[in-house]
């Protein structure tokens, strides 16, 4: 561990591990492996979106211009802030400052919630502007160029998948905050906070990739 831990902060050894060091190593490796699979899940989508852009620049730019750039940009800032609060939660957990940690975790969850609200509003605006070609009762606002439609479809799948991750992430975070607020938590499970923190940063990272690929390129 890079940071020294405060007194009363640590990890209880589970029966099948030889040592706490081994247990920590396993947890860290496990979360990294999981993050790689998650990244690949999104990578295929992003790759297809990029190829579509390269092959059909005009149609995709026309479609991308309809995306709500300012909402996307604000959401990027919101998520970066949430990564910051999550990092603070990890620092506090290492120092044994349980109350501060819990507050930082709640702030993180709140920022995540704000993201979802803004995203929801963006979807609503898309709907109002007839930018949902899969709804048969709402004719697509752009001329039916297949590439534009493909790009818009990819945008929905990618952002919905991201929103689903964020939603799951917030639920897990709130559950963990509830447990972490109890006495003695930090003495037994401090590494949960670290491991979870990596997951949160990952959700943030996916958005940081999605934003330029979907909203910004060629704008």
């Amino acid at each position: 561990m890079s940071e020294p831990l405060a007194d009363g902060v640590g990890v209880a050894r589970a029966h099948h591990f030889e040592s706490v060091a081994q247990q920590r190593e396993a947890a860290t490796l496990g979360i990294w492996a999981w993050l790689i699979t998650e990244l690949l899940l999104f990578a295929a989508l992003f790759l297809v979106a990029l190829i579509t852009r390269i092959q059909h620049p005009e149609a995709t730019v026309a479609a991308a211009k309809h995306l709500k750039f300012w909402i996307g940009a604000t959401n990027t800032v919101v998520l970066i802030c949430s990564s910051l609060t999550m990092s603070m939660a990890i620092e506090f957990s290492r120092m044994g400052w349980q109350r501060a940690m819990v507050r930082a975790m709640l702030a993180t969850a709140a920022l995540g919630g704000l993201f979802l609200v803004l995203k929801g509003y963006e979807y609503y605006a898309d709907w109002a502007e007839h930018m949902m070609p899969f709804l048969s009762d709402r004719p697509f606002a752009l001329a039916e160029t297949p590439a534009a439609r493909l790009f818009v479809n990819l945008y929905y799948v990618a952002t919905l998948l991201h929103a689903l991750h964020l939603f799951t992430g917030i639920t897990l975070l709130l559950g963990m905050t509830w447990m972490a607020a109890r006495a003695g938590f930090l003495a037994r499970h401090q590494n949960w906070i670290e491991v979870y923190g990596l997951y949160w940063h990952f959700i943030d990272l996916v958005w940081i990739l999605a934003f330029p690929i979907l909203y910004v390129v060629n704008r």
Binding site: H15, H16, F17, E18, Q22, E25, A26, L29, G30, A33, W34, I36, T37, E38, L40, L41, F42, A43, A44, L45, V48, P133, F134, S136, T145, P146, A147, A148, R149, L150, F151, N153, L154, Y156, V157, L161
Partner: protein
């Protein structure tokens, strides 16, 4: 709490074979016996047994569907069943066999049971996650089977778009959702194995002392981790397209069907090695034990596992030679496909060299292993035909392909599975199976398999396309032969189910190490205690420390 397992010094290790512990409270089977203790267990050995029972059930379902397919093909004119029924039968056969039997078979059962034992650990790194992945697996598989109960699916196991998204009016959606869910179970299992192999090895168990079985599972787990997410994406897109018309494959939604094939085969070609690599791991344990000889070229076999796992990601395009990809792409994919043959050949060569001048015993596991090598070689060689551009034009989508993949996947995985099942049965259950019956069924399966599938090479070469319920009358003889072979094969599968189950109650009690095999799993009692080892196991000086040593081993270790 101990860190013994000192390595140096101990020159010759007498197997301090512990007694059988059947019926004692400490063995994992009898430690607790409530249903709850099975369905909420976090013991990797019990989870392995849960998987074993479930995939056996799926195998039976898949085999029944195969029986229906072979029944239909006895007559050329499709008189026995409608085209619709035929399509549903071969689809459910493929879906169940590939996704719910072949892929999880060896990793989820043997891998789960043996990896911690072989590396001297008390469990996998994440026991609860392990149990979770069994539940995820069952949920996904049952979800898919719901679609069968409702009326079936007719897209084939590959779910090609736009048939699966727009044209099929069968129960595609539950099948797709089920397969997607099962993918997560693979990912979780792979993740657990990778972390376990990295972090849980007993002191002294270095990478180059690991059994090849562990190496093979390490390579397989990397494929699980790196390829499965891509097919998950593809399946999610299929679901979105079919359910909500948010599409990227159907041209009507602006999409591109070839894109689906890229995403699909980017996973599914590596998936072939998910099915084959663990089998190779099993064979690499059986062959030295029954030749009582050190595995020839241990390091090369280990490297070949990783080599296969890497190259396999770059050959998916050989499924698309005739789908309008560019000629250059086809050439590159063709060349790369030939490259895959190299590590495979290394393995075959090393097994053969191990058998050579060994003290050979032809017990059931070894019979399966030899059958495996034979079928795998034929399957592999015909793969080279398919990877050759010009020949592929002729035999693409014919029965030649069907024969090829059955030789690889059934020959390669099912035979290894059965060989491994017999090899480790005493360890799993504490009982010995009936050796004569074991040999009879091994021979029946080998015979039945060849009678079933060899004629299909000829049929394919003569031009009979796959996935049709009718065919020109001149192909009937070979088809009847194939169906007759399937009957023999079915008998061959039935026998083990009977005598293995019989042995659970009436079999002779197994000693800790009935084969005089090496490897830490044989150091503990049969069946093992809940925490695997009563005292910390002693890591051997060299891997495969058998009495007959190849020259190379002496050179390496002075």
């Amino acid at each position: 709490m101990s860190a013994s397992g000192s390595v140096g010094g101990t020159a010759r290790r007498e197997p301090h074979a512990p007694e059988s512990t059947i019926g004692r409270k400490s063995d994992y089977l009898h430690a607790e016996s409530t249903l709850r203790s099975w369905f909420l267990t976090t013991d990797h050995k019990r989870i392995a047994i849960l998987y074993l029972a479930s995939i056996t059930g799926f195998f039976v379902i898949g085999a029944l569907a195969a029986g229906v397919v072979r029944l239909a093909l006895i007559v050329p004119n499709g008189a026995i069943m409608t085209n619709d029924t035929y399509n549903k039968a071969f689809t459910i056969h493929g879906v169940v066999m590939v996704w719910f039997f072949l892929i999880p078979s060896i990793p989820a059962t043997f891998g789960n049971f043996l990896i911690p034992l072989m590396i001297g650990a008390r469990d996998l790194a994440f026991p609860k996650l392990n149990l979770t992945s069994w539940y995820v697996f069952m949920a996904g598989a049952l979800f898919t089977l719901v679609s069968v109960v409702l009326g079936g699916v007719d897209t084939g196991w590959t779910f090609y778009a736009p048939l699966s998204t727009a044209f099929s009016n069968t129960w595609v959606l539950p099948a797709l959702i089920g397969v997607t869910i099962v993918g997560f179970s693979s990912i979780l299992t792979g993740l657990n194995f990778v972390v376990t192999i990295h972090t849980m090895r007993a002191p002294g168990m270095t990478w180059f002392k690991l059994p090849i079985f562990v190496w093979a599972h390490y390579a397989t787990s990397l494929i699980f981790l790196l390829a499965t997410p891509v097919i998950t994406t593809a399946l999610i897109l299929l679901i979105a397209e079919r359910a909500f018309h948010i599409g990227v494959f159907d041209p009507a939604y602006g999409g591109d069907p070839v894109l689906f094939q890229h995403l699909f085969w980017f996973y599914s070609h590596p998936a072939v090695y998910i099915m084959v690599l663990p089998g190779m791991g099993v064979i690499s344990e059986i062959v030295p034990a029954f030749a009582q000889k050190k595995l020839f070229g241990y390091r090369f076999v280990a490297y070949a596992s990783i080599g296969l796992a890497s190259v396999t990601f770059f050959v998916w395009g050989h499924h698309m030679f005739v789908n309008g990809q560019s000629d250059l792409a086809s050439l590159v994919f063709s060349a790369l496909s030939f490259a895959v043959a190299v590590p495979s050949a290394v393995k075959v060569y090393n097994w053969t060299a191990t058998i050579h001048k060994g003290a050979l015993r032809l017990d059931t596991p070894m019979l399966y292993a030899m059958g495996y090598i034979g079928l795998f070689v034929l399957g592999g060689l015909t793969g080279l035909y398919l990877a050759t551009l010009a020949i592929n034009q002729h035999i693409h989508a014919t029965y030649f392909v069907v024969a090829h993949f059955h030789y690889i996947m059934v020959g390669g995985t099912v035979l290894a599975f059965l060989g491994g099942l017999h090899f480790w049965w005493p360890k799993f259950t504490g009982r010995m199976y009936s050796e004569p019956w074991g040999r009879v069924s091994a021979l029946l399966i080998f015979l039945g398999f060849n009678v079933t599938f060899f004629p299909q090479f000829i049929l394919g070469y003569l031009g009979m396309p796959r996935r049709y319920a009718t065919y020109p009358a001149e192909f009937q003889l070979l088809n009847v032969l194939s169906s007759a072979g399937a009957t023999i094969l079915a008998a061959g599968y039935l026998f083990p189910m009977l005598y293995l189950v019989y042995s659970l109650w009436f079999g002779r009690k197994a000693p800790a190490n009935p084969w005089n095999a090496k490897g830490l799993e044989w150091e503990t009692s049969s069946p093992p205690p809940t925490h695997n080892f009563l005292s910390p196991p002693e890591v051997p000086r060299i891997p495969y420390d058998y009495p007959i040593q190849a020259q190379e081993a002496r050179d390496q270790h002075g």
